[in-house]
């Protein structure tokens, strides 16, 4: 076998190995989805799963309404805190300060994305729970807001940077002050990208467990008061999965299925919105 034949063979073989490894990488995704759906469906097919709350083991008709409500409240409050701050911060980075000091803000945001969420939970505990002597939904939403903030900042910055300078210049040429150009021309034009960032942040926050362990804490009854401990879907999955009771485990799988459908749904929608943004920015 000549040297060249061997070289070509090596090349083809290595390419096949790379394809095989890529297939291997997708196996966990398939398996996680498969087991979540097949093990979660038996719980989810009962409609009361969505409107009933906790029932003791053995009592039929248990549901996760309390956990859905808790997640909605905590993620909602966190969004109210993180999204406006993140959007304005992103506008600042893209519109005013592309180099200079802003690179510190950028680095800090990226580092914050990688900060262990359990540490953020400890922070929220010290900041909110300890002074009030009380676990609460508010403490949970503070922790979630910190985890959402950097995602919103960076995606907003990206979306605003895509808007071509011509739009900015025409606004300024018409005599609009800069803040109106930013808020009334640039932001609306960038809105699909901004919405994508907000959606991704919401998806991330909805799936977080660790920072809620000692802030939102969890709770068994249907409750809408954020000054009290609140349940959350991820917490529900975590606690129930670790119990020895089959029925509770089944509910945990059901709640996991709800989470996965929600989070992956949000991700796919935001992807679609973002593609529109890129097309739109190309037309401007």
């Amino acid at each position: 076998m000549s040297r060249n034949v061997r070289r070509r063979f090596t090349s083809t073989a290595s390419l096949s190995i790379i394809y095989a490894l890529t297939g291997l990488a997708l196996v966990p995704l398939g398996l996680v989805l498969w087991f979540t759906v097949t093990k979660g469906l038996p719980a989810v097919v009962h409609p009361e799963f969505f409107y009933n709350s906790y029932r003791p083991v053995g009592v039929p008709g248990a549901g996760v309404a309390h956990a859905i409500a808790g997640t909605a409240i905590m993620v909602g409050l966190a969004s109210l805190m993180a999204i406006p701050v993140g959007v304005l911060g992103g506008v600042y980075l893209a519109e005013y300060d592309r180099a200079g000091w802003a690179s510190w803000v950028r680095l800090a945001s990226d580092v914050l994305v990688g900060t262990p969420s359990i540490a953020v939970g400890l922070f929220a505990y010290a900041l909110v729970v300890a002074p009030l002597h009380h676990f609460s939904g508010i403490a949970g939403s503070v922790a979630l807001a910190i985890l959402m903030l950097p995602i919103v900042i960076r995606t907003t910055e990206g979306a605003v940077s895509l808007i071509p300078g011509g739009l900015r210049e025409s606004g300024l040429a018409l005599g609009l002050p800069r803040w109106r150009v930013s808020l009334q021309l640039i932001l609306p034009a960038a809105s699909p990208g901004v919405i994508t960032g907000a959606l991704l942040a919401v998806a991330r926050a909805s799936g977080e467990t660790a920072p809620l362990l000692f802030t939102g804490f969890g709770n068994l009854i249907f409750r809408l008061d954020p000054t009290q401990p609140l349940a959350a879907l991820p917490l529900f999955v975590y606690h129930n999965a670790l119990t020895p009771y089959k029925s509770l485990q089944e509910q945990a799988w059901g709640a996991a299925l709800v989470l996965v459908v929600m989070v992956l749904g949000i991700n796919l929608v935001s992807r679609w919105v973002l593609r529109r943004q890129i097309r739109l920015a190309g037309q401007l």
């Binding site: 090596t10 398996l31 304005l88 359990i118 540490a119 977080e208 467990t209 975590y238 485990q249 989070v263």
Partner: protein
């Protein structure tokens, strides 16, 4: 003709306002570290550096040392990286330059969705699917054949250092892949064309030209993945076995910094016990901060150098 009216520049209040708001992110980061430092103070004062080297963890005698948790964190993350890195780079090479664009799009989306799945879902999956599988098809055969080697000795268990590392490997794969793909894409096309023009095969070009050029960036991606693995809490807590000891074998239960906090913080009473747990958190966050900063700078400098 009179002179043109001089433009009076009003102070741009909107700029100032958004600037202040944008600094919320760095402020949060600094505040997190400071508050954790303050909360950990009693333990820091009491144990000093001995906290990092001590291996006792006993709330009854108020004796706390972080070594087993540090060991478990480093061991699970290291093993996860070793498993995930070859796969991640292979996928990145494929996504960066091989195959049909549609296929790449589907694979890329699939890998990114892996990152979006909440860690508690990985946790429940690892506990009920991966752990039994690992016990039966990985640990048992390995112990039977290679059990005489210290770190592969039995008995095999469902919840172990290995199971935790496996689930971590899956969870950091998207980070590794996405960033490696970006740095490989940033390698100038000319390099590849020149290599092919000289008669190199696809593999020779990739292995000897592209990957070396992207090396620093791939290293950065690896460290970012490491940062993720170090801080991951829930999925690990569910399958690592939660034993505060330095394990003798990868099939033994262990503990990580994050899982100790997750399991014990709500039950910690007194002054020293919660402070010691927060100090574990402080160790964790300082390490991940350092790791993340180094990694981000590496990735950015590689991309900037390629663009130049």
């Amino acid at each position: 003709m009179s002179a043109a009216p001089t433009l009076r520049r009003a102070p741009d209040r909107f700029r100032t306002f958004t600037a202040v708001v944008a600094w919320a992110a760095p402020a949060a980061l600094v505040l997190i570290v400071l508050i954790l430092l303050q909360q950990a103070a009693p333990a820091v004062r009491r144990f000093g550096f001995g906290f990092l080297t001590g291996s006792d963890w006993n709330p009854v005698t108020d004796s706390f040392g972080a070594l087993p948790a540090i060991f478990g964190t480093v061991a699970t993350s290291g093993l996860a990286l070793a498993l995930s890195l070859p796969v991640g780079v292979a996928v990145a090479v494929l996504l960066a330059e091989q195959g049909h664009a549609k296929v790449r799009g589907v694979i890329g989306t699939g890998i990114e969705l892996l990152a979006a799945i909440p860690s508690v879902v990985y946790g429940i999956w690892a506990l009920y699917v991966l752990a039994p599988f690992t016990l039966e098809h990985i640990e048992t055969p390995l112990v039977d054949r290679l059990g005489f080697i210290g770190f592969l000795s039995g008995p095999p268990r469902q919840t172990s250092l290995l199971t935790a590392s496996l689930v971590l490997a899956v969870m950091i794969l998207p980070t590794l892949t996405a960033i490696s793909r970006d740095v490989i894409r940033a390698v100038p096309r000319g390099l590849r064309e020149n290599s092919v023009a000289l008669g190199a095969t696809w593999w020779e070009t990739t292995w000897r030209v592209i990957l070396p050029a992207a090396r620093a960036g791939i290293f950065g991606a690896t460290i970012l993945g490491l940062g993720r693995a170090l801080g991951e809490t829930i999925a690990v807590t569910m399958v690592i076995g939660n034993r505060y000891e330095i394990p003798h074998s990868i099939f033994y239960p262990a503990y990580t910094l994050a899982s100790v906090i997750a399991n014990e913080f709500t039950e910690a009473t007194g002054t020293l016990y919660p402070a010691a747990l927060v100090e574990l958190g402080l160790v964790l966050i300082l390490v991940t901060l350092a790791v993340n900063v180094v990694a981000l700078l590496l990735v950015r400098s590689t991309q900037a150098r390629m663009a130049a």
